[in-house]
Subunit: 336 residues, 2 copies
């Protein structure tokens, strides 16, 4: 970050926007009929249906300035939003970006944020349609992104949380617990990676990038329910289980294999805990009919059972005959 001493307040709204728009100049413009700079954007929607989601990140809750660059924050907030689209079987078609910050914020930070957003949006081929700039009275800094999208080619219906059926297989699109493990490293004072594994974990915490095409792949492969792991396997799995009225029963061996990927950066017990409860992962959790093979890259996590079987007497995520508590297995924005 080149900090030239300029602030948002010194540059003024129009000056800041000029810098921000420059960071988005290289993005694709497919479908953008009216881009940033007018009252609203206008986006072509050839499929006749638009997916829409919004996610906000807040300084000192979702990132710390001493651990994350502005670019990191930009990547993270875009991934969060695009993963929600992927979890429906969709792909991004446009982003709206709102920044709220005090006038004293370094202009270089706003520029870095836009660069990070532009980088992640560019990887996914998604244009920026517009945004908003607001000043905050205290020192709060927030970035609220809205992502618009469409169901991907070959996906005819959105994959909801409510479609899991007994007999389905539970699977995940990639590793779990990386972001939580990275946060544990940071909290333990490891801000610089000492090996390749630590680097991967710290990177995934700071700027998660996942394979967003796995959502449409899963949808085309017949996924019956899907969610992105933003609040932890147990907590997000619990949402699928309750919406579908089923029990998701984890295979302890599968959990241990995922945990093993976090060792030795974390000891095995903490690695297991991160696999179950670590948030901000943004891999996809999905259920598939039991008679089909999983799409490439997906790992089997367990099975979907009817409530009442094998001692699973309520919808939820179960392991070894016990229901895993979503309240302690994940992150509640207000209960902590």
């Amino acid at each position: 970050m080149v900090d030239d001493g300029a602030t948002l307040g010194g540059r003024g709204e129009r000056g800041v926007l000029a810098e921000v728009f420059a960071a988005y100049a290289g993005l694709p413009t497919d479908g953008v009929l009216v881009g940033p700079g007018d009252d609203t954007g206008l986006l072509a929607v050839p499929t006749g249906r638009v997916l829409a989601t919004t996610d906000t990140v807040v300084r000192d809750r979702d990132w710390r300035d001493d651990w994350s660059t502005a670019q990191d924050v930009g990547v993270k907030v875009v991934t969060q939003n695009l993963a929600d689209l992927a979890a429906m079987g969709g792909r991004g078609t446009g982003l709206l970006v709102a920044l709220a910050a005090p006038p004293s914020l370094p202009l270089a930070w706003a520029r870095g944020l836009a660069e990070g957003i532009g980088y992640a949006a560019g990887l996914a081929g998604v244009p920026v349609l517009g945004g908003d700039l607001s000043s905050t009275a205290g020192d709060a800094v927030l970035v609220a992104v809205t992502a618009l999208g469409e169901l991907a080619d070959g996906v005819t219906a959105p994959v909801l949380r409510s479609g899991a059926s007994p007999g389905d297989v539970l699977a995940v699109s990639g590793p779990l617990g990386r972001s939580g493990a990275g946060l544990e490293l940071l909290l333990g004072g490891v801000t610089e990676a000492r090996d390749e594994q630590e680097r991967r974990l710290l990177d995934h915490h700071r700027r998660p990038l996942t394979d967003l095409a796995q959502g449409p792949s899963a949808a085309r492969a017949g996924a019956t329910a899907m969610i992105d792991v933003s609040d932890g396997l147990v907590r997000d799995g619990d949402r699928v289980a309750r919406a579908s009225g089923v029990a998701l029963v984890l295979d302890p061996g599968a959990v241990d294999r995922l945990a093993g990927e976090l060792v030795p950066a974390l000891p095995l017990d903490r690695a297991r805990r991160q696999v179950l409860s670590g948030g901000e992962e943004h891999e996809l959790l999905a259920t598939f009919p039991g008679d089909r093979s999983l799409p490439e890259g997906w790992r089997r996590l367990g099975q979907v059972l009817p409530v009442g079987s094998d001692g699973a007497d309520a919808p939820g995520v179960w392991q070894d005959g016990a229901r895993l508590d979503p309240a302690t297995g994940g992150w509640d924005h207000f209960e902590g």
Copy 2:
């Protein structure tokens, strides 16, 4: 606001969302294929094009808790967003609502906000598609709304800021300066209206409601450029003038007539200033071909001249041979 002592932190994310969704239960669901509660919303877009805009309001910048209720804030943020759609010739089809607040925020405030949003959305017939809830580390409270929309029936192309031509007429869809005048009253200690005029001004500052159908009306009547007056006549007019490369020349008589509507709540000189610079009005400013009559309810403000004529030697808003300075005639979010 019935404050039962509950807070966001005490109720937890799921509990808060249940209350919030209840406030939206009466909204229309036209076009909503997937509503709140899954990873994203899914909205039908029969026209094949979606308008999208986002606007954020921040406590102690955009409202003060001692002057505005939570319901007021909800109405205001919805009007801000829908007015942007109207200014393109559009109408709302869906809203996304993000609230960021400390865990100590009274639940009653969040409920009141949702009620205000539901009220304004209901007037406009717009469903809520989804949202986000985040906690802030300090005491910042922010509401970021994204509005999706479509060009209204009979509107074939969006009305941009850049389409004004010499020979056009400049007009506004209603009164100007009410919100700014209401703010002046509040700053002067008048928090309770003493007459009907003060009541209208305070109401428009706290919870602006404008006739959003005037945007599509203007578009159908051939409006060549349009913007909503969110930062003041001079500042927003300047944006149209620069985008179109023209001079907007105000008729002093028209400005005085608008100012007269703010008298005697304000003295005439301060009323004139509010007409020119008062923001958060959310009436529409548009240019129309000079040979047509204005749509019902619109008031003529002046004319569009080529740059270089009548001493208007630069794009901008002009009156009595002088260019009005957008920096002092309006509100810059960072220059103050």
